[in-house]
């Protein structure tokens, strides 16, 4: 069972305390109604499927409840880093 560092609790905790919340750094457009169909489709459905470094969101759902971002290697399943929501992409 992987240990995940929660940047809010600043502790490594077992993965069963966390829930994955999909790819990170996909901001909701400020004006959804102004989006073209293609742009809106990309926002809703188009996701990366990288082999290697992947930016994704996790929630410490059975802990502090906060959403945060992580860089995880999809091959080794190792977490490279985690950081708070709103911080720049690493």
């Amino acid at each position: 069972m992987i240990l995940i560092h929660c940047p809010y609790c600043d502790e490594k905790r077992p993965e069963i305390e966390f829930a994955n919340a999909g790819q990170a750094h996909i901001a909701r457009p400020l004006d959804p109604s102004g989006q073209s169909d293609a742009d809106w489709e990309a926002y809703l459905f188009i996701r990366a499927n990288p082999r290697g470094r992947h930016h994704e969101r996790w929630r410490h759902i059975h802990g502090c409840g906060r959403f945060f971002n992580a860089v995880r290697d999809t091959v080794t399943d190792k977490f490279e880093t985690t950081y708070k929501a709103g911080e720049p992409r690493r």
């Binding site: 069972m1 992987i2 240990l3 829930a19 919340a21 901001a27 909701r28 004006d31 959804p32 109604s33 989006q35 169909d37 809106w40 489709e41 809703l44 459905f45 969101r57 929630r59 759902i61 409840g65 906060r66 959403f67 080794t76 399943d77 190792k78 929501a85 709103g86």
Partner: protein
């Protein structure tokens, strides 16, 4: 030939005889024996029949790598365990063990005909033979193959045993307590580290247990470790899997070795998180591949040494050794030391260390160098062996009643590989050894390739002058894979060991190829004329040895599989004969049958009571979220489809929640208690999901909003009081709230007290009748419920369950999210466009309502269905077609989502999702069912009181 008990020696307790049975026959062993050593001491050589050819098989090993001697143990009803290795079963008085895969008996097995037909069972036999016809696989081929080619029988009754589990944390975890593991523990014992030392056997020592010279050291070491307060020793414990971040799964066997189980748990699952791991799992001796190497009595030389020195058992009166490695010579010298006469040493090498030759000479053992075994005589046991002089190809016969194989050593890298550590090939060992770690772990002793057993030749199989197509030289004993099968796979074009493995099944049995993988690799390497590292390596995966489902499940079974959530009123429902159903994890009263009432009668009565007088319903399971803060209204305005900012305190609103893709995900009535405070309700099953979704938007998209979300689902008991007499019952019990229709209209909320308890009183209705939902602190739920029952008796107040609730809401066309919607239904599809704030610039899902797919014609839309036969209740989930006369497969245009008998209307009602449904009003649609096609007319979804006159009273 047969084994026998030596007069002296071994670690068994000869003062403690143990009686047990094998295949119904009684035997005697001693405390400290395994089933394998005790049977061997009794002259038993035949332990089982092989998987495919049903060949007679005996012991190969003395440890958990044993491929042949798979045994079932029966401890009474539900306590039947198949596929245990005889080498790991500690005998106790009353042990009841059975051989497997034979009929009618081990010595006379009908399935052995497969062996005579062996030429018809080449590699890939099943793939090639049972391809056609395809439809025969499930019903004919597979059941027949399973019957003939299975391992042990699966248990058929529920397991009555209890299994414990625990978590443990340590600084240093040492897996394997042979000399290397014990040394590692002794070396760290004086630090402050918390140390766990685990071993799969009943006592510590590993290989040292078969070396009496090491016993004084072993005794001292165990004493020191046992006395160290920072060292935890777990014996009979198998580390079966190595997971991320030094997380190790291990199972400790607690009662299988005891004559009486009592009330103790059978096994305990340890989940261990270790700072550092030391793997000291040792190495496994490799069999040698030659014709007849599976005859009972042919076994590993290291195993013979273990039987002699640990258990005081000779494997035969005159064993011979077939070696390609020095270690076999040392083993055979140890047997000689135990008083066993050795008849020959055969070594494939042209020369060996002179010290070995001198010792053999001193002990009077005949040595044949540059020789190899090319045949074994005897079917149920070895009688003699044919050996070939490779110098002149001359074959001679050597009398021996056991043949020991010493083919070199394979480091046990199983757990290292689980941890994703890399491996490197060592030509001198003919084996893979650990290279780069992926966790904080290192290997010591045999599993690192570090041993003092001497050197050896790396061979694929023994050369033979015989016709290769006529011999059976086994590589994988448990899956009956021969050298010929592997060369055939190569001839047929397989190049990667991963493919050869799957085609031949080499290494795919329950032992994961502990004794066969490396020999299989060498044979494939020779056949392909490529070095071993170029054809790859198959991966090891957990478990290291098979484990029980019981240990893995632990307490998570039966009632403890998942929590059952109950309301404060649940105990009242139980006492009043409710029939329950599970909704999400909640236990809810489905209906309250009176004596002799079936569900249909009870639900009809409950529905009529609500419509004609008064019903009472436990709605406590509704999800509830308290939304508080200066921006609470703005937040809800962005989340829900409808406008919230203008909602006055004291009023309620039906809220519809979409996902960003525009599809309905939840709904519920919510109330504004104050400008900065809302009481939200969600569906019973959606509460956690909705809160998660709201937190997501609040934390990551709109962190500027000052809003707090708190789950209050379990803080309130909710009692729905529904029916024309609801107000009359409430009036005497409520203080501080004017219940008159003018002061307290439909879709309003008031705070006051009921029976002296603080309440949030909603005037809402999910039935279409005058209704109230009384929220009180959970602990008061049942007390208030009972007061309402007493007060309502004059109106024949009737408790109703979820089934009547469903009928009542369907009569009014109220949807259940998840039943009448399926995750692809928009507000417009569901006829809920009235709940969408058209003027709002944005809300979650708004942009998607203009997506091309969603505005396209022909979407499935929610409609009512009235069957032409009013007595017919359609089946929920039934498919709908427009034209029943079209050819099969018909084009299905939708399905029934809700369908009930309405006692109030005296007929059946249904809702359905139908393509273009809103434009089909009045059309007749067809519902094909087995035997008959039903017809129904499309209607609106509101079947009762469409004007809502009954609500506003």
């Amino acid at each position: 030939m047969s084994g026998f008990r030596l007069k002296t020696g071994g670690r068994i307790d000869r003062s403690q005889p143990v009686m047990f049975s094998f295949d119904g026959k009684s035997y005697q062993g001693f405390a400290g024996d395994t089933l394998a050593s005790a049977l061997l001491a009794n002259g038993v050589m035949l332990f089982g029949r092989s998987f495919k050819y049903h060949r007679p098989r005996g012991l190969v090993a003395a440890g958990s790598e044993e491929p042949n001697a798979l045994i079932s143990v029966n401890r009474g009803p539900g306590r039947f365990t198949p596929n245990l290795r005889a080498t790991g079963i500690e005998i106790h008085n009353g042990l009841n063990a059975f051989s497997q895969n034979r009929w009618p008996s081990l010595a006379m097995d009908f399935g052995a005909i497969n062996d005579r037909l062996g030429m018809f069972f080449p590699a890939g036999f099943y793939n090639k033979t049972f391809m056609w016809p395809r439809s025969f696989w499930d019903k004919v081929y597979e059941p027949a193959i399973r019957k003939m080619a299975g391992l042990g029988d699966a248990p058929t009754t529920e397991d009555p045993d209890v299994y414990a589990s625990t978590y443990a944390h340590c600084d240093l975890l040492i897996i394997g307590a042979g000399p290397a593991g014990i040394d590692a523990a002794l070396g760290s014992m004086d630090s402050n580290k918390r140390i766990i030392l685990i071993d799969e056997q009943d006592e510590l020592g590993g290989g040292a247990l078969a070396d009496p010279a090491l016993w004084p050291w072993l005794e001292r070491s165990i004493k020191a470790l046992t006395n160290a307060p920072n060292v935890t020793i777990l014996t009979r414990t198998t580390a079966f899997g190595y997971y991320h971040d030094n997380f190790i799964g291990a199972v400790q066997r607690l009662t299988d070795h005891l004559p009486e189980i009592e009330d103790r748990p059978r096994e305990k699952l340890w989940r261990i998180r270790a700072g550092e791991v030391v793997l000291a799992q040792g190495a496994i001796e490799r069999p040698i591949v030659f014709d007849g190497n599976d005859t009972p009595g042919v076994m590993l030389s290291s195993a013979a040494k273990v039987y002699a020195h640990r258990y005081g058992v000779a494997v035969g009166k005159a064993p011979a050794l077939m070696a390609s490695h020095d270690s076999g010579w040392h083993d055979i010298f140890a047997l000689a030391k135990a008083g066993i006469r050795i008849c020959a040493i055969i070594d494939v090498r042209e020369s060996v260390d002179s010290a070995l030759m001198h010792e053999a000479d001193r002990l009077g053992i005949t040595v044949y160098l540059n020789h190899g075994v090319v045949g074994v005589h005897g079917r149920h046991g070895v009688s003699s062996v044919d050996i070939c002089d490779y110098a002149d190809q001359r074959v001679r016969r050597v009398d021996a009643d056991a043949l020991l194989m010493a083919g070199g050593w394979t480091p046990s890298v199983h757990l290292w590989s689980h941890s994703k550590g890399s491996l490197k090939w060592r030509d001198d060992l003919g084996a893979y050894v650990p290279d780069q770690p992926n966790e904080n772990v290192h290997c010591v002793g045999g599993c690192s390739g570090d041993w003092d057993y001497g050197t050896g030749a790396v061979i694929d199989m023994l050369p033979t002058p015989k016709d290769q197509s006529r011999i059976k030289a086994f590589v994988d004993f448990q899956n009956d894979v021969t050298a010929k099968d592997i060369t055939l796979a190569v001839r047929e074009g397989f190049r990667s060991i991963e493919h050869i493995k799957r085609y031949t099944t080499n290494g795919m049995a329950t032992d994961q190829g502990k004794t066969s993988n490396l020999n299989g690799l060498q044979i494939a390497s020779s056949a392909l004329n490529k070095p071993v590292p170029d054809i790859g390596l198959t991966s090891f995966r957990p478990p290291y040895t098979p484990q029980t489902f019981g240990a893995l499940a632990g307490h998570a079974k039966g009632a403890l599989f998942q929590p059952t959530r109950t309301t404060n009123i649940d105990s009242w429902a139980q006492a009043h004969g409710a029939v329950f159903e599970l909704v999400a994890q909640w236990r809810r009263a489905r209906y309250f049958p009176k004596p002799n009432e079936d569900m249909h009668a009870a639900v009809n009565r409950e529905c009529v009571a609500v419509r004609s007088s008064l019903g009472i319903f436990d709605a406590s399971t509704l999800g509830k979220i308290e939304v508080v803060g200066p921006d609470a209204a703005e937040f809800l305005n962005r989340m829900y489809t409808n406008p919230w900012k203008a909602l006055e305190p004291g009023r309620c609103r039906y809220g519809l929640l979409l996902r960003e893709d525009g599809f309905i995900t939840d709904d519920g009535v919510s109330a504004r208690l104050a400008p900065d405070r809302f009481h939200l309700t969600t569906t019973t099953g959606g509460a956690a999901r909705v809160l998660n979704m709201m937190e997501d938007y609040l934390q990551t998209e709109w962190p500027d909003l000052d809003v707090w979300l708190t789950s209050t689902t379990e803080q309130y008991a909710v009692i729905a009081l529904q029916g024309p007499n609801a107000r009359k019952v409430l009036e005497p019990l409520v203080q501080g709230i004017d219940l008159s229709p003018e002061a307290f209209p439909h879709m309003a909320i008031r705070e006051g007290t009921i029976c002296g308890i603080n309440t949030r009183l909603f005037r809402v209705s999910f039935t279409g009748e005058l209704g109230f939902e009384i929220n009180v602190p959970t602990a008061y739920g049942r007390a208030v419920w009972e007061q309402l029952m007493a007060q309502g008796a004059q109106y024949d107040i009737t408790p109703y369950g979820t089934e009547a609730m469903h009928v009542l809401r369907a009569e009014k066309g109220f949807i259940i999210v998840g039943q009448d919607t399926d995750g692809t239904v928009t507000p417009f599809d569901a006829g809920l466009d009235w709940a969408v704030g058209k003027k709002k610039p944005d809300f979650v899902g708004k942009r998607s309502m203009a997506r091309p797919d969603i505005i396209a014609p022909g979407r499935k839309q929610l409609v009512g269905l009235l069957t032409d036969d009013p007595n017919l209740v359609l089946e929920e989930g039934a498919q709908i077609v427009a034209d029943p006369n079209q050819p099969i497969p018909m084009t299905m245009i939708g399905h029934v989502t809700s369908s009930y008998w309405s006692e109030t209307l005296g007929r059946s009602i249904a809702m359905a999702l139908v393509a273009g449904g809103h434009d089909r009003t009045g059309d007749t649609l067809h519902i094909p069912m087995p035997g008959k096609t039903h017809t129904a007319k499309v209607t609106g979804t509101v079947f009762y009181d469409p004007e809502g006159a009954r609500l506003h009273v």
